[in-house]
């Protein structure tokens, strides 16, 4: 089971809710994915116009928890305020801290994210920060009480896949909290690869919402995550470039144990 804060999840796939053509497709994709946790931007909460509101239809889903995110915040102060408003409106203790001060490339701000995460964790939130794939930052976020870290596989919406694989590997190696690859994935095979590497979950939005058939793609990602996780559990065979039938390099060593 994936454990985030004090909550356990069977599904290791988390869905983003932006970029869909309509609410109905989004809800069908969520159902097809089997996810139990979805993130929704506070900026897409709209209590005044029901048809434009993403929060209410998601809140009605059974077995799916909401995780408001702070997308749109430029700094820690704004993110904290957005998180508090998100908690008040959604009733969820989860928050995805997402601070990208450049609204074009949307790269996360490591410094402001750490500041916000620290404050929100102290305030009782279950904090999942979206971060650059930086192993040092990941440990520092663990130290201030984050429930997981969410390094990017590649830029948001880029479909660049696991271009940060080596850094993510280091994050996984040293982490005591779940590591969730967030952003950049394009294909279910990449989700499988992330799980095989030892990620605890993946978060996907664009790859599903911008697919030709979002609902079918949501199902495909569920299968990819499941496959990768099962493979990880089964233990992958070690990889080697060279055949090792004989030992020509070490045959000079005394074989009889004498000193």
């Amino acid at each position: 089971m994936l454990k985030l804060g004090n909550v356990e999840f069977r599904s290791r796939l988390i869905l983003g809710t932006g970029k869909f053509s309509d609410t109905e497709t989004m809800l069908k994709a969520i159902e097809a994915s089997g996810t139990e946790l979805v993130t929704v931007a506070l900026r897409r909460f709209n209590r005044e116009k029901p048809g434009d509101d993403l929060c209410a239809p998601l809140a009605k889903l059974k077995n799916v928890r909401l995780m408001p995110n702070t997308s749109g915040a430029m700094n820690a102060k704004e993110a904290v305020r957005a998180a508090q408003l998100g908690r008040e409106l959604s009733g969820s203790p989860f928050v995805k801290v997402e601070i990208h001060p450049n609204p074009h490339h949307l790269m996360p701000d490591a410094i402001e994210t750490w500041l916000a995460a620290k404050e929100l964790a102290a305030d009782g939130f279950i904090v999942l920060p979206y971060i650059p794939a930086d192993p040092v930052l990941a440990k520092k976020l663990e130290d201030v009480g984050c429930a997981a870290v969410m390094p990017l596989g590649a830029a948001i919406g880029s479909g660049g896949g696991l271009s940060m694989a080596e850094m993510i590997r280091l994050i996984i190696r040293d982490s005591n909290i779940p590591v969730i690859v967030d952003a950049g994935l394009r294909a279910p095979s990449e989700a499988a690869r992330a799980m095989e590497m030892g990620c605890d979950a993946v978060l996907v939005n664009s790859a599903i919402a911008a697919a030709k058939d979002p609902v079918a793609m949501a199902r495909a990602f569920a299968l990819g995550v499941e496959t990768g996780y099962a493979a990880r559990q089964a233990g992958l065979m070690p990889k080697s470039d060279v055949a090792v039938a004989t030992s020509p390099l070490t045959s000079f060593l005394k074989q009889d144990g004498s000193v």
């Binding site: 434009d52 001060p101 450049n102 074009h104 911008a210």
Partner: protein
């Protein structure tokens, strides 16, 4: 003659001869730059509209999903001290002029709110006694009380003035250079403060320095050679991305056709050229929102929605007091797409595009 900034001059890219092979290469460019844009704007690229559209659509979907962000303009005042040769509100035009009183602004806002909009663009003419900074600041404050996003399309200001508007709740500025060609600019702007080319050119930069988060740029297509203007516009965007890295920039493509006063544009841009320009911008600035207003007709807008364009206005009135209160009859320009909001949203949904009214939150405004 004023000293122009180094980043402005796009001449070097206009002098190259673009072949079909150059266009193909530009379409496959890994890191599109201004030479890519020059190739895609060239006459040779007119034969590549379909592959350009396909590339633009894929990029739009990747960065903005299947959504169209909506906003609505609110004309506050038709008073103007400017002498723009092409504008129905220029100070020498005989037109019935109005500026909304604050209670009339409230009425307009109620009508707009009832439609569901969350992003309002406030418009005035050049600075006038009837619509000055104090007037505008109070209007901004009234909008900010009820809407998440408040942008202005008004006269260029000093940084401190922009800051006072940001403090009143203003989030963005739209300011078109009209044309980036200094000689044409001088000819088109016959008198008034708008004659100062550089002062206008630097205004978005001052607005961002003053605390506004979003800046919308554009050139009025039809005034000068569109290839020159579009390359300069691209340079302006890139310049601001480097000097104000946190700014949210958008680009609009207003096309001048027949304004009040009988102005005939010297460099008319047809629909195919306009589409070529928008595709080229999407390919070269994949993550910058591209805007298309109701200046364009329904068929063109429907076709462009989601293929390059990801932000649109609808149900727009370009008259002062057009939504709820009594006002003038003559608008700044004729709206070509006069559909209502519901009809427009139904069109978007039929194209599997979601109309998004709220894509930002006032909670981010309080810092």
């Amino acid at each position: 003659m004023q000293t122009l900034p180094d980043w402005l001059n796009p001449e070097p890219w206009l002098n190259t001869c673009v072949t079909a092979a150059d266009v193909e290469q530009a379409l496959g460019a890994e890191s599109p730059d201004e030479s890519t844009l020059a190739a895609l704007l060239a006459p040779a690229a007119a034969d590549f509209l379909e592959p350009m559209a396909a590339r633009a659509q894929a990029l739009t979907r990747r960065h903005f999903g299947r959504t169209i962000q909506l906003y609505v303009p609110l004309y506050l005042s038709s008073w103007c001290s400017g002498g723009c040769a092409y504008c129905g509100f220029a100070s020498d035009r005989q037109t019935d002029r109005h500026a909304l009183e604050f209670d009339a602004v409230e009425k307009e806002l109620s009508a707009i709110k009832a439609m569901g909009f969350e992003e309002v663009l406030l418009l005035t003419g050049e600075r006038s006694a009837e619509a000055d900074l104090d007037y505008l600041r109070e209007c901004v404050r009234l909008v900010a009380l009820r809407f998440h996003n408040v942008a202005i399309e008004v006269f260029p200001m000093a940084e401190e003035e922009y800051r006072s508007l940001a403090e009143a709740g203003c989030t963005g500025v739209t300011l078109y250079q009209e044309t980036y060609h200094p000689e044409t600019y001088d000819r088109m702007h016959r008198w008034g403060p708008k004659k100062d080319f550089v002062q206008r050119l630097d205004a978005p930069s001052r607005a961002l320095a003053g605390g506004l988060r979003f800046a919308g740029l554009g050139a009025l297509l039809g005034l000068a050679d569109p290839r020159y203007d579009m390359l300069a516009l691209y340079r302006h965007v890139r310049h601001l991305q480097k000097t104000h890295w946190q700014a949210g920039l958008t680009v609009s493509f207003p096309r001048i056709r027949h304004e009040a006063g009988g102005f005939v544009p010297p460099h008319p841009v047809d629909e195919k050229m306009l589409a070529q320009i928008i595709f080229a911008f999407r390919i070269c600035l994949p993550d910058v929102p591209l805007v298309l207003s109701t200046r364009e007709g329904a068929a063109f807008r429907d076709g462009m929605a989601g293929i390059g364009v990801n932000k649109m206005s609808i149900a727009s009135k370009t008259t002062v007091g057009g939504y709820g209160s009594a006002g003038s009859k003559e608008g700044q320009f004729d709206v070509s797409d006069d559909r209502g909001l519901d009809e427009f949203c139904a069109m978007l949904r039929a194209k599997q595009l979601e109309p998004v009214f709220k894509n930002w939150d006032g909670v981010y405004r309080l810092t």
